[in-house]
């Protein structure tokens, strides 16, 4: 049964992401997941507070459906197709242990941050909210996220997407190498 539970290698996963983008292109759409955050703000009455949310979000219904499907896919994969553990480089595992994160190779997300018990720690809630906030704010400021810029935009050789993706990595490296040591030690 291992072939069902084993993770998909990069050379399967990457091409299938490209396939997802092309399926949407042939359907007349553009692959971009963070737009749904804006759609959700618009659908819940955000247009009353800012013009940015005054648009016909029902035209973006297709993308909200992709979002619902993604959640469904997450349910199916975690329930039936995965043992929900992730094995990573042993050196990185050791580094995480110095940060007090010991659930590497045993969980899909670190229990120390994402378990329900961890939610009773206000510092953890802050990490989750601030992390989410930066993703939402940054994605809209930059006009796209990993799917919209790193996949769709770069595939179309867009200079703006290259600037954005360099920003994604610069921000990520700063967080992991300079801010994580402050947060977790």
């Amino acid at each position: 049964m291992n072939w069902i539970y084993d993770p998909w290698p990069w050379y399967v996963s990457g091409p299938l992401i490209a396939l997802t983008m092309f399926i949407l292109l042939f359907a007349g759409r553009q692959f971009g997941m963070s737009s749904n955050l804006r759609n959700l703000c618009a659908a819940t009455g955000g247009g009353k507070a800012a013009d940015f949310f005054k648009f016909d979000w029902k035209k973006e219904r297709w993308n909200l459906l992709v979002m619902v499907g993604a959640a469904l896919g997450g349910f199916i994969a975690s329930q039936y197709l995965s043992d929900n553990t992730v094995e990573i480089n042993p050196d990185v595992t050791q580094k995480l242990e110095t940060y007090g994160i010991y659930s590497t190779n045993e969980a899909y997300l670190p229990n120390e941050i994402f378990s329900l018990e961890a939610l009773s720690n206000p510092a953890n809630i802050l990490i989750l909210i601030v992390g989410g906030f930066l993703v939402g704010f940054g994605a809209r400021y930059a006009g796209g996220c990993t799917s919209g810029h790193a996949i769709s935009g770069l595939s179309n050789l867009q200079l703006p997407s290259l600037i954005a993706v360099i920003g994604f990595f610069a921000g990520g490296l700063v967080m992991i190498h300079f801010i994580f040591p402050l947060i977790f030690s």
Partner: protein, 137 residues
């Protein structure tokens, strides 16, 4: 019919994100530690095929199934919004260990805590909408 089509595409994408482990906090952390080729291989191979495919679409002027032009509009030229927005996004991506697609996937997988991250992401999107005219773009 259309509803089912997009739900199926999304479900495929969700399974893909979960099974590739691109939705795992550990893989994102490992990527920024340069600890494995895995994430670079995923993004790199998607990109190479994406570039090749888009070039072919343009060269042969391939249309959508309905015969319309494909959605390949150039993005607005600017520097600040992409550099600043991109960097803020990267900080959040590494801190939460998830970008928007995987957030929905993890919610479906039953990780309650990811709802806090999604709430933060919605809040960030909303605050951007409020401040948009005051920010350099």
């Amino acid at each position: 019919m259309k509803t089912i089509f997009y739900l199926v595409v999304g479900t495929f994408f969700g399974i893909l994100m979960y099974k590739s482990e691109a939705a795992s906090w550990f893989r994102i952390y490992e990527m920024f530690e340069f600890g494995s080729f895995h994430m670079y291989g995923i993004i790199g191979s998607a990109l190479i095929l994406g570039i090749l495919g888009v070039q072919l679409i343009k060269r042969f002027n391939v249309k959508t199934l309905k015969g319309q032009d494909m959605h390949l509009k150039p993005k607005n030229k600017s520097f600040y919004r992409y550099a600043i927005g991109g960097t803020l996004f990267g900080l959040g991506w590494a801190l939460a260990g998830a970008c928007p697609g995987p957030m929905y996937v993890l919610a479906g997988a039953g990780y309650i805590s990811i709802l806090v991250v999604i709430f933060g992401a919605l809040l960030g999107t909303f605050i951007y909408g409020l401040l948009r005219d005051k920010l350099p773009h």
